[in-house]
Amino acid sequence: MLDRSRIGHEFESFSAEVEKGRLRFFAKSIGETDPVYWDEAAARSAGYRNIPAPPTFPFSLDMDGPELLPVIDFLKMDVSRILHGAQEFEYPGMIYAGDTITVKSKLKDIFDKKSGALEFVVMENSYTNQNNEVVAKSTCTLVYRNA
């Protein structure tokens, strides 16, 4: 069983630059067809100050720290037994190419189902840009297969 005493832990925050090339690569990898996601001129004429990061991109920022996902080592999890259970985003703002985003993560909860055969690890994250605006929040639920 994962160590419940770790609930509430706040991970050391880190900052990540949102590079234009990375956003273009991301757009390509999801087959995006809307040019605002790779063409700066199209983005500006759509009213954005630069190429926007697509809605699910904050999850990629979670993995821009020193480790893939720090919670994996922190709870001594075996990466091959982890599945993604659920993901939620809130968008108080937008993330753009050129931004520097500070990612803060907290271990919100751990619980189990099926008599411990499955454990759920809930992470809460926030994303703050260089102007000190919280531009996104997310909740990520990982499923850990014990059986």
Binding site: F59, S60, S80
Partner: protein
């Protein structure tokens, strides 16, 4: 824009079959380098039949459908549960339907039920978006 009411369906999005190439590109671009999605040997050792798609890849497809419908600046919330693993060669279809129109934060907003499913109808992701209209 035409009126958004309960029952309004947003334009669906059908994706090409999931290939190893799709997964390799997404792993690199997304930063999710978990080998279970790109290394067959690793996936088999973990008890899986083969590599399988990142849940977040399908959620990104749902995001494409939403931002095709309304500009991203109108997206307030977006959530998804991952119901079934998306396997290699699966053809994913994204769809969405307005389930509620309400006022919040001084805005008219729509609640949209979003679903990603395989061709046989098996749902892989089910979620919800709140969009200002």
């Amino acid at each position: 824009m035409s009126e958004v009411v309960v029952g309004t369906e947003i334009a669906s999005l059908e994706l090409p079959p999931i290939s190893r190439f799709t997964l390799a590109l997404y792993a690199g671009a997304s930063g999710d380098h978990n080998p279970i999605h790109i290394d067959s040997d690793f996936a088999k050792k973990a008890g899986m039949p083969d590599v399988f798609a990142h849940g977040m890849l399908s959620m990104a497809y749902l995001g494409r459908m939403l931002t095709n419908w309304q500009p991203q600046s109108r997206l307030v919330k977006f959530s998804s549960r991952f119901l079934t693993i998306t396997q290699l060669y699966d053809v994913i279809m994204c769809s969405g339907k307005v389930t509620e129109v309400f006022e919040e934060g001084g805005q008219q907003r729509a609640r949209i039920e979003v679903i990603a499913a395989r061709k046989d109808g098996t749902q892989t992701l089910a979620g919800e978006a709140i969009v200002a209209i």
